[in-house]
């Protein structure tokens, strides 16, 4: 059979949910994944080749060879980049997508994140805009994602900022030694704190075991399957219906249209160990859930006589407003040992500075960090005045690996239409498909917010009693990577957006984008829970429409 009710492209945070909702509604679904299904052993524990520190390779796809992108730096110089390089802006390519190896922070966006233009005005040169829906509209779907995948947290701590109707299904992760110091300091400073919400089984949930508190969350797979991603929750439910067909190593080349320009299905390459074969499949609905870079690339590559600029791109909006997060970071040496080897390591955050910061547009959350392997610590966390080698460097590693406190946070990007995904005119991947070309940055107002958050981080370290404090802030660079978003933004005006509030591409009744691409803005939080909430909401709409 090659005629389906729906074809879903991508099995990440959004695609898995759409597959689950549609197949449980009795629809016949073809779920296509360009990567493969990775076991715990496949992902491995290589400290130099993982999604968090990828020096010579990575561990969750795409393959290092045959999948290039082109990156254009702020000076306009372009170069071909491999999937593990920073400028590739990779997210994982495997069943589960980024959720296979993510840290699993399960944050809701703040109500003001949905009305940024109204709250702050639009700075010149930015494409800052309100979402077409409010927090209140999305709230029930946040709850649904938290309960159906399994989130752990404290529902009361920031109720006054981000109201919720129902608590988390699981209690939050427990405190670590640094938690107490950070909590006491925040109290002195008058800052609100909360345990960090996580898609981690702090108790057995969903038929799977509890977290064993190992040191390998972000960048790796969970040894007890206690980290809840698409691959072990919603995709399993989809497959259990018997009406969802999952194909891996299936790389979509184009979304196809008929002679009248209506979407009819997809053409894709399927690689079953031998020579890749081109296949076609037809469906009533096509849902693109490839992540902000690959979803935009696919729409742009789906050109025809009636859609010469690609699908949904009549007004040159597809691929614009690429955003993710800048991460300011602050460190300090604690007078006492704060490392206890108990994972995941991230325990406490302040949401004091997500909004209402004087002279700043937006802001962000600050939290302590996941346990860092020593080599990751060496690259990330050393003071800038420390020699990079020699006995002094070794002594610092020896004395302070267990004493360096660290907070970091995602700062809300202020989008620019110049931060964007296009398709390269000449570079192609191993299947001959034009690759993504990444260029531009977000708006400079983002850096003002990042600098403000860097200073708050330093303040938090000092008041926590740290002897020596240092910090870093990345400057104005293209952000994207695991938090990539914004390239097919939702909106009511087809001239300034790609889809309507359901993810339906303007002028195409049966073509949807459902993933981080839809985010008009990306909040000052890890975006995955918002991607999931939008996916539940969009999927219910699609199920009704089929």
């Amino acid at each position: 059979m090659n005629h389906y009710d729906a074809i879903i492209i991508g099995t990440g945070a959004a695609g898995g949910i759409v597959a689950c909702v549609l197949s449980e509604a009795g629809k016949h679904v073809l779920l296509l994944e360009r990567g493969s299904c990775l076991s715990f052993a496949d992902v491995g524990r290589d400290h130099l080749r993982n999604q968090r520190l990828a020096i010579y390779g990575h561990n969750a796809g795409p393959d290092v060879n045959g999948n290039p992108r082109v990156f254009v730096d702020p000076q306009g110089r372009s170069r071909i980049v491999k999937p593990y390089e920073l400028d590739y802006h990779n997210n994982a390519a495997c069943v589960g997508g980024g959720t296979r190896v993510y840290g699993a922070q399960a944050w809701r966006f703040h109500p003001d994140d949905f009305r940024m233009a109204t709250k702050y005005g639009v700075p010149e040169g930015s494409s800052l805009a309100d979402w077409p829906i409010s927090y209140e509209t999305l709230e029930p779907f946040y709850e649904r994602a938290e309960w159906e995948l399994g989130a752990a947290g404290n529902g009361d701590s920031i109720q006054h900022q981000i109201p919720r109707k129902r608590n988390y299904p699981l209690p939050p992760v427990g405190p670590s030694p640094q938690t107490v110091a950070l909590q006491n300091a925040a109290r002195q400073l008058g800052w609100v704190t909360t345990p960090v919400p996580l898609f981690i089984n702090t108790e057995p949930y969903g038929g799977r075991a509890a977290c064993i508190k190992c040191k390998y969350c972000v960048g790796f797979a969970c040894p007890t399957d206690a980290k809840n991603g698409s691959q072990n929750t919603v995709i399993q439910r989809a497959l259990a219906t018997g009406t969802c067909e999952l194909k891996t190593s299936a790389v979509v080349e184009t979304i196809d249209t008929d002679e009248r320009g209506n979407v009819s299905g997809v053409s894709y390459f399927e690689n079953n160990g031998g020579k890749p074969q081109r296949q076609t499949a037809r469906a009533k609905m096509v849902i693109v859930s490839g992540g902000a870079i690959e979803s935009a690339r696919l729409l742009l590559n789906s050109r025809s006589a009636l859609h010469p600029a690609g699908l949904g791109n009549e007004h040159d909006q597809v691929g614009r407003n690429l955003q993710g997060h800048l991460y300011p970071r602050a460190y300090g040496i604690s007078p006492t040992k704060i490392f206890d080897g108990v994972g995941p390591g991230v325990t406490i955050a302040t949401t004091q500075f997500n909004h209402n910061n004087p002279g700043i547009i937006g802001g962000g959350m600050l939290a302590d960090d996941f346990i860092k392997p020593p080599i990751d610590f060496w690259y990330d966390s050393l003071p800038p005045d420390l020699p990079r080698w020699g006995i002094e460097n070794k002594r610092f590693m020896r004395e302070n690996y267990t004493r360096v406190m660290h907070v970091r946070g995602p700062v809300q990007d202020i989008p620019s239409p110049e931060g964007r995904v296009t398709v390269d005119a000449t570079v192609r991947d191993q299947w001959g498909i034009p690759v993504a070309r990444l260029s531009g940055t977000t708006h400079r107002a983002t850096v003002e917010a990042a600098e403000f958050l860097r200073q708050r981080g330093e303040e938090w370290m000092r008041v926590s009693g740290c002897d020596k404090v240092w910090s870093a802030q990345p400057g104005l660079i293209l952000s994207g990577r695991q938090h990539q978003a914004g390239t097919c933004r939702m909106g009511s005006d087809p001239k300034s957006s790609v889809t309507d509030e359901w993810g339906r591409v303007h002028q195409h009744n049966n073509l949807f984008v459902v993933d981080g691409s839809l985010h008009v803005t990306n909040g000052g939080f890890n975006p995955v829970l918002t991607i999931m909430a939008l996916a539940f909401r969009g999927a219910e709409f699609i199920a009704r429409a089929i």
Binding site: W389, K394, Y401, T402
Partner: protein
């Protein structure tokens, strides 16, 4: 790659104290494997850099690098790090030195299976692990 000069260089980058230096922990083995695999395309560059360090030592002190005092070794490597070399280098010294430091550190602090962290010694030293892995 297990040359006398390389051993001395990695031990200058990560010297022994109560815990082993880079050579004893296996970093030369790690580098040898890395330069045959992921960094095979830079093996010649790396070899040229190590030879240039030896030539720099002979030029400055008329002695092989391994026979310099610890402080002579350190100050010479610091000069190379900043590009202040006194002999003619076939490759950019600072660029090579950054690669040398990063790869040495990677071997020493990554997981023992990579070869440069025998007995998980750096993990015990930092406190990442409390006990030696078997």
């Amino acid at each position: 790659m297990n040359s006398e000069v390389l051993r001395a260089v990695v031990d200058c980058l990560i010297p022994a104290d109560d815990f082993p230096g880079a050579y004893e922990a296996g970093v030369c083995d790690y580098l040898e494997r890395l330069l045959q695999t992921d960094l095979a395309h830079q093996a010649e560059f790396f070899r040229a850099g190590i030879e240039a360090i030896e030539a720099e030592a002979l030029g400055r002190f008329d002695k092989p690098f391994a026979y310099l005092s610890a402080s002579e070794q350190s100050s010479m490597l610091a000069a190379i790090e900043s590009g202040a070399v006194e002999t003619s280098w076939p490759i950019p010294p600072a660029c090579f030195f950054e690669m040398l430091v990063n790869t040495t550190i990677e071997g020493y602090y990554s997981e023992p299976q990579q070869g440069g962290n025998r007995g998980a010694i750096s993990w015990v030293m930092t406190g990442f692990e409390e006990q030696l892995d078997s």
